[in-house]
Amino acid sequence: MIKPVAKQANKNANLRQTGIDAATKVVANFSIRSVQYLDENANIVHDLPMFAEDSAELLKLFRTMLLLHHFDRKVLMLHRTGKIGTYPGTLGQEAVGVGMASALTDDDILVPYYRSVTDLYVRGVRLHEVLAFWIGDERGLDFKDPRARNDLPLPICISSQIPHAAGVANAIRIRGQKNRAVLTAIGDGGTSEGDFYEGLNCAGTWKLPLVIVINNNRWALTEPNKCQTACQTLAQKAIAGGFEGIQVDGNDVIAVRATVDEALQKARAGGGPTLIEALTYRLCAHTTIDNLERYVDKEEYDQAWQKEPLIRLRKLLQVREVLDEASETRMLNEIKEEIEHEVELALSLPLQPPEAIFDYLYAELPERQQAQRAEVSARWRKN
């Protein structure tokens, strides 16, 4: 019997010199592009998209970003005074959520990720709702704004939202709705989970009306990008799904909005999905209970502050003379009022009744749980 060959040391050595290179032909080419309009010094590096000609529009975006910026700081204070526990901030990343969500129409659907306060806010979800969720009250996910009623709640399980977003998009596709698309988000760390790829792969296969934005804030908890991937861009993950991936300066709200807008239009028109990597930086700790000084390089961190998204937009608006110190101060005062109000609402929310732990389990509560519900009721009502 002729035995199969196991060792070929010498021959391999020869082969190595020649190699397979000569026997290859290129069968596919891909490239990843990157979008930027406004660089960190507020230089306009490309002709602005139409919407950005409208200074009032940009001012709205600025105001929203400023509000979320200050909300973050407020929450951190609340944490320090023991009023709230875990909260994942969006400091430095305001342009990603605000830019992407401002490209949505009311008919579109948003599938947020756990750090999605900025996009949710644009969508009409109130800050006290998001805060209530993080304080530990399920009612925070019962979004009240009509625009957000069909939006999915914040998921805590990293990446689990990507198949959901594909499912929502699939419902739109099946129903032949041409005016709708789905927008979802994920972190850089989230791109390591299987669910991310499964959703991507399906979105490509079924040409789903789906836009996925990666908030690449360079950190997944304490792990920097290099712990998650060998990829030079996360946008290139789209190539594995067979559709376009594109990078965008995530600190340039104009670029984020324009890129997401175009991708949503493509999706609504049946052109299929797009993956957008927004490059930004997490200027806050992972959450309020984390301490970034333990693992973040000080110099890198300080540099990141220089590229922070409010700076360049402020400069542009100042050049356009629609914003100055005085008007920004007025704006800030208004903002702070809204924040105080929202915080007050969240902190003063009365507890849910004890029975509520059963009341949303099923449409109809089974007998077994009815008995338990009665037990809980008796126990906690008497005290």
């Binding site: 399920e138 739109i172 669910d195 399906c202």
Partner: protein
């Protein structure tokens, strides 16, 4: 009205609901063009088209996750997991998304979805194709778990599952997919999803089982009848919620109880039923509650599967032991 198999009962229920409600769609690996590995979705692709019967990529987490997304927009997906042994990649989507959406949004978003799958052993299938891990699912609040044991129940329970406003896991005992035929009318009548069936009344001992094990249980009851032991046989049908009151009532009458399931014994659903009885019917018991189950080992490959599987002989032995106990 033709006599149909359990498998055909499944098909008939899906067909019925797809015809009735445009929001009902079927999805899974190979369920479309080819009608599924067991043909549970046979003919539906042709009838309803590729937009309502979807061949998905080979990815279980995706299949359940897609269903969550679709159901969140008021569609009614019926997802197939090809075999219960392959449910694990989707466990996260079931446990953390499907089971919780209503609760975590305080009822804002609900998920009318079904995840159906063939389960259980006895057909000499390769590794992982014979699993019976229903206890893992029944431990998760927020979903329902249902198992039919006859063609007619398959039809009526699956209708109910599809119409249910919450996620239902529908386990199909593949060993009896084609074992029995029954005349079933396609009348659209659904069963409730919280009641067991008393398949045979008896006075001496209560036997509780579900799925393919019902066959062995009924055989054992027949054999014991000849020895003058009158068995009450309960088809559990719904594993979450379990119809404990009916079982308690039966055991209060008979004073003895044996639970029969294929799954591994430790932490199997037999334990849950025994625990409930030991709490609610302790003083009625003349004998320890018996459990005839798969052993606490990994489901063996086909050549050794018979050593593992409960059969009528093991049930008979356990009944005798209970009857002789004093």
């Amino acid at each position: 009205m033709a006599a149909i198999t359990l498998l055909e009962g499944v098909n008939m229920a899906i067909d019925h609901e797809m015809a009735r409600d445009i929001n009902v769609v079927a999805l899974g690996q190979d369920v479309g063009k080819s009608g599924g590995v067991f043909r549970a979705t046979d003919g539906l692709y042709k009838k309803y088209g590729e937009n309502r019967v979807l061949d998905t990529p080979l990815a279980e987490s995706l299949i359940v996750g897609l269903s969550v997304g679709m159901a969140s927009q008021q569609m009614r997906p019926i997802a197939e997991i090809q075999f219960m042994g392959f449910i694990f990649p989707s466990f996260n989507q079931i446990a953390t998304a499907a089971a919780r959406m209503r609760n975590r949004t305080r009822g804002r978003i609900t998920l009318p979805m079904v995840i159906r799958m063939p389960y259980g052993g006895g057909i000499h299938a390769p590794e992982h194709h014979s699993e019976s891990t229903e206890a893992l699912l029944a431990h998760l609040p927020g979903i329902k778990v249902v198992v039919p044991s006859t063609p007619e129940r398959a039809y009526g329970l699956l209708l109910a599952a599809i119409r249910d406003p919450d996620p239902v896991i529908f386990l199909e005992p593949k060993r009896i997919y084609r074992a029995v035929k029954q005349e079933v009318e396609d009348n659209g009548e659904a069963y409730p999803l919280e009641s067991c069936f008393i398949d045979r009344e008896g006075t001496d001992i209560t036997l509780v089982s579900w799925g393919a094990m019902m066959q062995e249980t009924l055989k054992a009851a027949d054999l014991m009848e000849k020895e003058g032991v009158s068995c009450e046989v309960i088809d559990l049908v719904t594993l979450n919620p379990i119809d404990i009151p009916t079982i308690v009532e039966s055991v209060e009458k008979t004073g003895r109880c044996i639970i029969i399931h294929e799954a591994t014994r430790a932490g199997g659903l037999g334990s849950e039923i025994a625990a409930e009885l030991s709490e609610k019917a302790l003083l009625s018991l003349y004998a320890p509650i018996g459990r005839v189950t798969g052993y606490d080992t990994i489901v063996p490959y086909p050549k050794s599967e018979h050593y593992f599987m409960p059969d009528k002989d093991r049930i008979v032995d356990e009944i005798r032991k209970a009857m002789e106990y004093h």
